[in-house]
Amino acid sequence: MSKNFFSTQYWGRLSITTKFTLAVVVLLALVALMALTSFLALTSVRRQTEAVLLTNPQSSQPALEMADIEDARRQINQTGQSATTVLLVTIAVTVILAFFIVLLLNKSITRNINRLTNAATQLQEEKKRSDNLLNVVIPIGVALSAEQNFDRLLEKILLEAKSFCHADAGTLYLRTENDNLNFVIVRNDSLNIAMGGTSGNSIDFPPVPLFNTTGKPNHSNVAAHVALTGDSINIPDAYRAEGFNFSGTKDFDQTTGYRSTSFLTIPLKNARNYVVGVLQLINALDQNTGQIVAFSQSLEQIAASLSSLATVALEAYIREQNLRQEIQQLRIEIDEVKRQRQVTEIVETDFFQDLQAKARNIRRRGRSSRLEESE
């Protein structure tokens, strides 16, 4: 494995501690460089001064000539100035480098903090989801399994999912044997519509066919599509959704003045991956503002868990119903011809004739002995 020190990937993968250590080492090196430069500059000034003093013997004498002194001072000044320049440049370079290092470190730290914050948020969401599963979905599942009335069971499935997802409206479809999706429960809170289930209002919407008359699968209706594919579909705005025909919804909106916006459509899939029904939630409402929003991904996942529990309850009910139907048609079928033949085969044997005689004998004796007893 070759290490490419120039790739961002390599640096990105380093831990923040390593990066910090590296930065401090570089800074220390710069400071050391600065100290060294200063030392060299001062040494140079001192040497120059000494050189001037040595090369001008007069200057060491008490009576100095002005010109010599001026010359020496100029030379010293020059050396001093160049040393100062070197120092200033070194300081400037150090400061600029330090600035960039701090900038880079800051970026890296920010990135790490962001990553940590994201992880924390994710963790929190996971926890919320597992809490929801444990405290909401499973109890609902248990309640569904205990429901003995089919209408109430269907209604409960929709109402629980609807309330959990803060949806304004919803529809529960059941798949029929001839591959139609029948509307079984329809609810719309803001329009005050309750059809099917225990509401006592019948549903006059025509069923949604899964296949058209030529046998082509109906993928244009979102509920039919979900039933056919077995995958959930989450649409933020039906009016802007591509690939689905929402004309029925739009017709409904036109007559009622409703605005169907966000749609969450979930299959009710059994253990054999067969879709027995479709749960559709419409217009998720923001809990704080009451505004229509899209269904969040986490809601989608919870709703999917809820729908699998609902399917279990539904299947159990249907199974029990089928059993009940069977008993209603419980025909205790006996082949009378065969029965007669089998009976004849037994009773006509010598053994049976003999036994029959003995049985009569035993019964007669039993009766007489009991008569004696009672006497």
């Binding site: 006996i334 029965r339 005689a357 039993g366």
Partner: protein, 251 residues
């Protein structure tokens, strides 16, 4: 007056021995003196339910048939084996599974008289209130011989096509052996069914009284012939049903 009640079925595994043991237990808990004769020498199970080990059976029903002992010697008092003290007593005449003994079973018309004598002796010597006989299933000679001594024949059946046909045949044959009373117990009925309807349909089909329709219960299955249900679950609805049936059968 003592009653001889024969617990019979067309098929193996419909709960014949289990029901016989429970009925005996419930009658004994009511203070009756009860005995069970296990004539199903091919696959006896009753001794297991009463915790009687084969090594502890000095004599069995087979020994009586072989003329090796008196019937009283083959009767084991199993009341003490139960975890509960009973007002009555339970005696068990077990069947032996050892091969040399199973060769001898009820299979001759003459054995009807032998069995009848055995039953009478047992009733008299032990002062029994009720005698239960667990049979070989079906219409085998062994089963038919045992039927001749019954005052009441309890036919047990499940809800299967095989049982419907076989029970029909058995009932016809039984009626030609002059059994004074023939009743049905439907066992292991799935709880999803309407039990009243089962009862009505069975009564119509076989033209005889249905004493009980017992549900299929996991608790019964879990006991797996290791314990007596009515003893383990004294307040269970199934126990109540069985008690009612036991009282009905001895009345």
């Amino acid at each position: 007056m003592s009653k001889t009640i024969l617990i019979h079925s067309f098929r193996h595994g419909v709960g014949r021995s289990t029901i016989a043991a429970n009925l005996a237990f419930l009658l004994a808990s009511e203070g009756q003196r009860v005995a069970i004769i296990d004539t199903s020498t091919k696959a006896p199970a009753t001794h297991l339910l009463f915790g009687l080990k084969e090594d502890d059976m000095a004599y069995s029903f087979n020994d009586y048939l072989l003329g090796q002992c008196d019937i009283q010697q083959a009767a084991h008092n199993v009341t003490g084996h139960l975890k509960e003290s009973l007002k009555g007593q339970i005696f068990l005449v077990p069947a032996n599974t050892k091969s040399e003994k199973t060769a001898r079973q009820l299979n001759d018309a003459q054995d009807a008289l032998l069995l009848n004598t055995g039953c009478q002796t047992l009733i008299d010597s032990l002062g029994l209130d009720a005698l239960l006989i667990d049979t070989q299933p079906g219409v085998s000679e062994t089963a038919l011989v045992a039927i001749t001594v019954a005052d009441t024949l309890v036919m047990i059946l499940g809800l299967s096509k095989q049982d419907y046909q076989g029970t029909g045949v058995t009932m016809d044959v039984v009626r030609q052996l002059d059994v004074p009373r023939v009743v049905l117990i439907v066992n292991e009925a799935p709880t999803a069914f309407d039990f009243d309807e089962i009862e009505t349909k069975m009564e119509q089909t076989y033209n005889c009284e249905v004493v009980a329709v017992l549900p299929h219960l996991d608790e019964v299955m879990a006991l797996a012939n290791k314990d007596i249900f009515a003893l383990r679950y004294p307040n269970h609805s199934l126990t109540t049903q069985l008690r009612k049936a036991a009282i009905n059968l001895t009345s």
